[in-house]
């Protein structure tokens, strides 16, 4: 076994261990540790990705001295390594972009705690990405939930605490359902390891045994993860949580945390249940319908919203709807589109959150649209970046959003029964997106007359501006050279099977 195969294990352990280390460090040192860890993990994942693309085969890694099904295992393929790399990039950029606003209302002695949470969040995301064992997945889902809750309430104003409570309640409902589904699955198959469960499940399907419990178990797991990733009817906690937490938290939460759960769901679909078996159930139709509803209602709520951060948060609801719609199509193309949308949405949404903070900063800290008038002139970089993000969301070519919409449409065209519904809702949702994002862009570029707020130049916000530029570049990169990425996703999904 090559030494590189150790890299996923190193990434997880490194980020876990750095969390422990941060607990004895002061805030500044913890920050450095955090950055170094994210970069290191990113580099490790990058090397791993190259290695896997080169070898063309996924591998499993024993966590201990015992092979599966006795010991724990993690597994790395192209998609996993790519996701890990991407998560690191987004996380680093989000942290750097929000760094200057990070500790507005946090006591200095608690700064290192924030980095502990970030490190543990990273490790749990990595574990969710790499895991090959259902129960490990559950444990790390819990770490993910709790640290996400910490990220929400670190600001400790009433709103964030209330949001954190709502988030926790919904998340715990989701965890409960997930665990229950898991238990039923364990009862039916006698395994916890993904590959073994899959074998047993296909055997059960062949023999026609335990059909009802099997379906119920799949459904419970799906519903659990849907709740945790804020699919439409379960999205009530989301706007407050994303809207009032510190900006880095909001960016990370919207682009990574919910995506981690969605990625786990993809993994479950492919590695636990089997893609064809999953598609033969009615669950995909339910996911499809809720996805469509999410696309519409999320956008409608965003239009009604008068607060820029909450608007972006509601837009996340719509975008998550897109992803589930892709699942619901039940084809390989739909899945590819969804995975691509995970990437594109993560890149865009964190860009929007970080640009939005730049805009509110020059508007006296207010997030109401009325105060944002002309903010695009006062903070040019944030204005341009927000516009770029909006264009990507709206689906203008050259940006990542266009490609994902194109992929969705392409996937929808191949599915007989769902084609029209998907395309029409896609169209409506795009127009609604255009309405609220363009409204915002126009608002920030409407001349405000004389405002008391000062302009901000590049010098005042070097890091912020550079991060914004990097985000825009990432977005354009996803939009322009999507082919290799789509190929990679296809290859990765093929490795899943």
């Amino acid at each position: 076994m090559d030494f590189i195969c150790n890299f996923p294990f190193f990434s997880i352990l490194l980020s876990l261990f750095s969390g422990t280390i941060c607990s004895i460090l002061p805030g500044k040192a913890a920050k450095i540790v955090n950055r170094v860890v994210i970069i290191t993990v990113g580099i490790l994942s990058g090397i791993l990705l190259v290695y896997l693309l080169d070898s063309g085969e996924s591998f499993v890694y024993w966590m201990g001295h015992f092979p599966a099904p006795w010991g724990n295992e993690i597994r790395a393929g192209v998609l996993e390594a790519g996701m890990a790399l991407f998560f690191c990039i987004i996380m680093y950029l989000s942290m750097a972009g929000g760094a200057h606003k990070l500790f507005d209302e946090v006591e200095e002695s608690k700064h290192n705690l924030y980095y502990i949470l970030i490190n543990l969040l990273l490790s749990s995301l990595l574990a969710l990405v790499y895991t090959n064992d259902m129960f490990t997945a559950y444990v790390f889902v819990e770490i993910n939930t709790i640290s996400a809750c910490g990220l929400i309430m670190i600001r400790q104003v009433g709103r964030t605490i209330e949001a954190a409570v709502r988030y926790m309640i919904m998340s715990l409902l989701g965890s409960g359902l997930l665990l229950f589904g898991l238990c039923i699955m364990y009862d039916l198959t006698g395994h916890l390891l993904m590959s073994n469960i899959k074998e047993s499940v296909s055997l059960l399907i062949q023999n026609g045994e335990y059909q009802i419990p099997l379906i119920v178990s799949i459904a419970l797991m799906c519903v659990g993860l849907c709740i945790k990733s804020a699919l439409f009817p379960f999205h009530a906690w989301l706007p407050d949580a994303y809207g009032y937490s510190t900006v880095s938290s909001a960016a990370i939460l919207s682009s990574l945390v919910s995506k981690g759960y969605i990625f786990l769901l993809i993994k479950i679909i492919y590695r636990v249940i089997g893609f064809d078996i999953f598609n033969s159930t009615r669950i995909i139709d339910v996911l499809f319908v809720f996805g469509l509803m999410g696309m519409i209602f999320g956008s409608l709520s965003a239009i009604k919203e008068g607060d820029i951060r909450r608007m972006i948060a509601f837009s996340s609801v719509a975008q998550i709807g897109y992803i589930y719609m892709g699942f619901g199509m039940g084809t390989q193309a739909g899945m590819v589109a969804s995975v691509f949308h995970i990437l594109s949405h993560a890149a865009t949404k964190s860009l929007l959150f970080i640009a939005a903070i730049g805009l509110t900063e020059v508007s006296g800290g207010s997030r109401k649209f009325i105060d944002l008038t002309g903010a695009g002139y006062r903070n040019k970089w944030a204005g341009v970046a927000f516009t770029a993000g909006s264009l990507s969301m709206v689906g203008v070519p050259l940006f990542s959003g266009f490609i994902s919409k194109l992929l969705f449409a392409q996937a929808a065209v191949q599915v007989e029964g769902k084609m029209l519904a998907a395309l029409i809702v896609l169209g409506i949702s795009t127009v609604l997106n255009a309405i609220y994002f363009m409204k915002t862009v126009i608002r920030i570029y409407t001349a405000a007359g004389d405002t008391p707020y000062p302009c901000i130049t590049f010098k005042d916000m070097k890091v912020h501006a550079v991060v914004l530029i990097l985000f825009v570049i990432l977005n354009v990169l996803l939009g322009v050279s999507s082919q290799p990425i789509v190929n990679m996703i296809e290859q990765g999904l093929a490795m899943f099977a």
């Binding site: 040019k380 264009l391 709206v394 689906g395 203008v396 070519p397 050259l398 266009f402 490609i403 194109l406 992929l407 449409a409 392409q410 929808a412 065209v413 191949q414 395309l423 169209g427 795009t430 127009v431 255009a434 309405i435 363009m438 126009i442 409407t446 001349a447 939009g479 322009v480 050279s481 999507s482 082919q483 789509v486």
Partner: protein, 489 residues
């Protein structure tokens, strides 16, 4: 080979630099820079047109979707029109914009729109076209809301939403075409290999109709024309000139590309889509003229006139035979020159007198005889009196309509064209008549000559001459097009 990119990238970059430049450069420097940029761009377009032999694939968005540029005869005609109108209106605006705020922003977006339009003309496949179609909307809508007044912002928003919705409707079609066609490169005669009689074919007829409606929004098609009459009066005059002479033509170009180069006329000929489209065009022509006739505000009247005149062009396209198509292209040129002249004269009048309503402009011919003469000449052209540009194009259109295989529309079309020509006379000439013959009670002594600055009159003159030239020597253009048109049908 990369020559083709120059006229696209140069103005966009120049405009971007202008916008990003922090300090106020001063009016003189600004106008000179912009002027130089405009001239260079014009020259670059000509160079690109002369020097380009083959298409250029820039990069691939996805496997089947390259960003691809190519030049054919349609591109030549549209890009020449763009260059001329943009140069003339640009120079006109150097004076006109004196009384507006934030000139730098205006010129920046103006240059960007110029570059995007060039790209639109050179686009070699549907996705490239769509990309720049969206960008055109985005870069031209700051021009509409330039003044920043409440009406202007509302008009800008209206423009934006109509255009975006239209573009998404067409994107809807692109999704299907992408799936069912081997390529989306513009190919004379179409790329869709489906018979309209099949089950899929009937579905694609629907798609074609949706795309026609979608792109038709930009061209002001009747149910979705509402943005035009609000956007034009709100925008500064040179901006309305380019808007109605060139930017709405992007919609026409889109329809030409979609119908003749993607679906192919064979697919649509005789289908219900053609019938519906013809009905829509005729209704629009008539409605536009009627609305213009009843409209008191000059620029709004001209905007309604644009709606109606554009549908002459679309009527020609919908008929789908050689004469009508040639007539359409001729009318694109003629209307481009004429309508930009009209808007520029309207701008000159507003600039000197500050009056916008037709009934306030009694005796304007005495004050600004030169401007009004140009106005009169091009008005005659728009009405279609020989030997002006409008006459030839309308002749071709009528001939095409009469010989076309379109059933009842054969006669209906000709009749509507005639009636609409009358209405055109009815809404354009009153200004001339009142302007030159204010009536006995008009106090001649009170008025003095108020001709605008040289930089305003010269562009108007140039455009007037060009519009006349189109009428005098249409053969150059028709000869140039003959071979090409026959490959299309």
């Amino acid at each position: 080979m990369y020559l083709i990119l120059l006229p696209i990238l140069f103005p966009i970059l120049a405009g971007f630099c202008l916008l990003a430049y922090r300090k106020d450069p001063g009016r003189k420097l600004l106008t000179i820079t912009t002027g130089i940029c405009l001239v260079i761009t014009g020259a670059l377009v000509v160079v690109a047109l002369m020097g380009t032999k083959q298409g250029l694939t820039l990069f691939h968005l996805t496997k089947k979707l390259p960003i691809y540029f190519n030049i054919d005869k349609i591109s030549v005609i549209f890009s020449l029109l763009t260059v001329i109108v943009f140069l003339c209106a640009g120079f006109f605006s150097f004076v006109y914009m004196k009384h507006e705020q934030k000139e730098k922003r205006y010129y920046g977006y103006y240059l960007m729109a110029f570059g995007v339009l060039n790209a639109l003309c050179f686009a070699g496949n549907l996705i490239t076209f769509y990309l720049f179609f969206e960008l055109l909307t985005l870069s031209s809508f700051p021009l509409v809301l330039h003044t920043g007044s409440k009406e202007a912002v509302m008009a800008g928003l209206k423009y934006l939403f109509y255009s975006l919705c239209g573009a998404y409707a067409s994107l809807f079609g692109i999704y299907f075409l992408y799936h069912n066609c081997e390529t989306l490169t513009f190919t004379a005669g179409g790329v869709l290999q489906i018979s309209p009689a099949s089950r899929e074919g009937s579905f694609f007829l629907l798609i074609a109709f949706v795309m026609i409606l979608g792109f038709g929004v930009k061209a002001g098609m009747f149910p979705m024309h509402a943005w035009l009459p609000t956007a034009h009066p709100a925008a500064p005059a040179p901006a309305s000139a380019v808007l109605s002479a060139v930017i709405v033509k992007a919609g026409v170009l889109a329809l030409i590309r979609v119908i003749y180069f993607i679906f192919g006329t064979g697919f649509l000929q005789g289908s219900w889509v053609q019938t519906a489209w013809l009905t829509l065009t005729l209704v629009t022509i008539f409605m536009g003229s009627m609305l213009a006739y009843r409209e008191p505000v000059l620029k709004k009247r001209l905007a309604y006139s644009t709606v109606s005149q554009l549908y002459y062009i679309l009527f020609g396209l919908a008929v789908m035979n050689e004469e009508a198509f040639t007539g359409s292209l001729l009318h694109v040129l003629a209307h481009g020159f004429i309508k930009s002249t009209l808007f520029l004269t309207a701008g000159a009048i507003i600039y000197t007198t500050g009056k916008t309503r037709v009934d306030e402009l009694r005796g304007i011919g005495k004050k600004m005889p030169f401007t009004m003469w140009c106005y009169t000449i091009v008005s005659l052209g728009l009405i279609g009196i020989p030997p002006t540009g409008g006459f030839v194009s309308k002749w071709y259109l009528a001939m095409g309509g009469l010989t076309g295989d379109i059933g009842i529309f054969r006669y209906l079309g000709a009749a509507v064209l005639l009636v609409s020509a009358l209405l055109t006379a009815g809404y354009l000439l009153p200004l001339t008549i009142q302007g030159f013959f204010p009536g006995a009670d008009y106090d001649d002594t009170a008025c003095r000559k108020q001709e605008p600055a040289r930089l305003m009159t010269i562009p108007i003159l140039c455009l007037t001459i060009l519009s006349v030239l189109v009428g005098l020597f249409p053969n150059i253009i028709t000869n140039y097009l003959t071979d090409f048109v026959s490959t299309l049908l």
